[in-house]
């Protein structure tokens, strides 16, 4: 019976080529937009995670801080829940590091009377605390310590960027939802047109004793097939766009920093399923309205 319904769906597809192609294109476009958003978010999240891995807090100590209290201070910081490790960087070590990093400007250091750099503690965060909100809380806690002159967590701008990114992500989710609903209603409308063009046929089927499922199932199959084909087209277009852009990105500004990834097979499968859901839902809505009459 399933094969029969499948064959009928294929036949119906061929008999109403134009309307079905419009539905297919509508689904493809909607899914392409949603997939492009997903691809963008996946890669942006990857970049964010890459940057977040370097999250650390530098606590610069006051110049009169007695080295004898270093162990106690480190111990105090280690008790904070977000802290993984604490490493002391003496001002001498810091200067040597600076000199080795700035070998070409070595003359700058020759006339120094004294080391201008402060002693510092490099604080690494544990895995659970790799969020900007937690880094900020930790920084405030460390800054409150008497021995600490100043706290710096390098890529402070990244925090702001994360906020913008989160806002963007929220907008993206909303857009995806809107596109999903729009796709469902457009599909429902095109399938309603298909049903309308076949109203005599459906009427005859009902009169000869066809149960509703006998009429509905081929339309559901049609919706599912359109969804799957639409997703296939959208993913193929997206892959071509990715393929042509990824090599440029990797060879350009972001060279070596990270790889631009395409959607994982699991994500692609989920998108196909989502698209099939769009097709099915469109058929379901229009059939429910039509057959109620």
């Amino acid at each position: 019976m399933i094969i029969l319904f499948f064959k009928r769906a294929l036949k119906d597809f061929r008999n109403n080529r134009l309307l079905n192609l419009i539905t297919l294109l509508t689904i493809s476009l909607s899914i392409l937009i949603v997939s492009a958003f997903i691809l963008f978010f996946i890669n942006t999240s990857e970049i964010m995670n890459f940057w977040k891995k370097g999250l650390r807090v530098m606590a610069y100590l006051k110049s009169d801080f007695p080295p004898s209290q270093l162990t106690a201070l480190s111990g105090q910081i280690l008790t904070l829940p977000a802290v993984e490790t604490v490493r002391f960087i003496s001002k001498e070590t810091a200067l040597n590091q600076l000199k080795s990093q700035m070998k070409r400007q070595a003359s700058l250091f020759e006339n120094l009377d004294k080391n201008p750099l402060p002693d510092a503690l490099e604080i690494q965060l544990n895995a659970k605390s790799q969020s900007w909100e937690k880094v900020e809380v930790l920084a405030t806690q460390i800054e409150a310590l008497d021995a600490v002159q100043e706290v710096e967590y390098g890529q402070r701008w990244l925090g702001r960027f994360t906020q913008i990114f989160n806002l963007f992500r929220l907008t993206g989710y909303t857009m995806c939802g809107i596109f999903f609903m729009a796709a469902v209603f457009i599909v429902a409308n095109t399938i309603r047109l298909v049903i309308y063009s076949r109203r005599d046929e459906i009427e005859i089927m009902r009169l000869v004793g066809a149960a509703e499922h006998f009429i509905k199932i081929p339309f559901y199959f049609q919706g599912l097939m359109q969804g799957a084909a639409g997703a296939g087209i959208a993913l193929a277009v997206l892959f071509m766009a990715y393929w042509s852009m990824a090599s440029n990105i990797e060879q350009g500004f972001f060279s070596g920093l990270f790889n631009v990834r395409f959607l994982s097979p699991l994500m692609a499968a989920l998108i196909i399923l989502l698209s099939m859901l769009v097709g099915w839902l469109g058929s379901y809505i229009s059939l429910k309205q039509y057959l109620k009459r």
């Binding site: 046929e201 009427e203 005859i204 009169l207 000869v208 004793g209 509703e212 006998f214």
Partner: protein, 238 residues
């Protein structure tokens, strides 16, 4: 109405009315049609013949009254059972109602497919019934390529393939030439001989005289009378 009549009845109507707004299409129809009856439903255009048939195959609802088909009260049938009830009928329409973009085989097989029959059985039955109506060589033809008589034969094939208990035919010969009309009536007689109840809505008095059977006369939505017409000569009801 005796107990025996009740047992023999396949269709019973009690004080049935059908209204379209203020227009009354059927007024207070009470009748019994028995198993294996051959019934002509006759009357002038607009008398309510087609409306009465539509009530029977549930294309339209009853405004008032009760209709029992094979013991089932159609007003109380849930939506899901409507298809099941319609399979008791084989319906022949004046305008054939064939699906234009499906070939002869597909049009006829639709009834068995809808009933969930197996493919092999469908193949066998469709070929058998098309042989019976003399259309076995037109399996792959599309309805628009057939003549009116041929299309009506396909419609008859579709109506009888499911071995229905009741055949409803709405002006089955209305738009056909005499030869084609004779073929259709022979086919309907054949189905009747095999045990089906046949109800034909027609205003063609000559056809009724030629065929004979029980005649129900409708006039302006009311049932005016019922009589048995003997083949060829009795025309007392007219």
């Amino acid at each position: 109405m005796t107990d025996t009549d009740e047992k023999r009845s396949i269709i019973r109507m009690f004080h049935v009315h059908r209204n379209y707004g203020t227009k009354k299409a059927l007024i207070d129809i009470t009748l019994d049609i028995f198993k294996n009856d051959f019934v002509f439903l006759t009357g002038a255009s607009g008398a309510g013949k087609t409306t009465l048939l539509k009530l029977l195959y549930l294309a339209e609802p009853v405004s008032e009254g009760q209709v029992l088909i094979d013991g089932m009260n159609i007003s109380r049938i849930p939506r899901k059972r409507v298809a099941f009830l319609r399979r008791k009928f084989g319906i022949i329409f004046q305008d054939y109602k064939l699906i234009a973009n499906r070939n002869v085989f597909d049009n006829v097989s639709l009834v068995l497919e809808a009933a969930g029959k197996k493919r092999r059985l469908i193949q066998k039955r469709v070929r058998g019934v098309l042989r019976l109506v003399g259309m076995e060589d037109r399996l792959t033809a599309l309805p628009p390529s057939l003549s009116g008589g041929e299309q009506q034969r396909i419609a008859v094939a579709r109506a009888i393939i499911g071995d229905p208990k009741i055949i409803l035919a709405d002006e089955p010969t209305g738009s056909l030439d005499d030869d084609s009309a004779n073929i259709i009536m022979k086919l309907l007689n054949g189905v009747h001989i095999r045990g089906a109840t046949v109800i034909i809505a027609t205003h063609d008095k000559a056809l009724i005289r030629k065929t004979g059977g029980r005649v129900l006369l409708l006039k302006q939505g009311r049932l005016q009378g019922s009589s048995i017409i003997e083949k060829h000569y009795d025309n007392s009801i007219f």
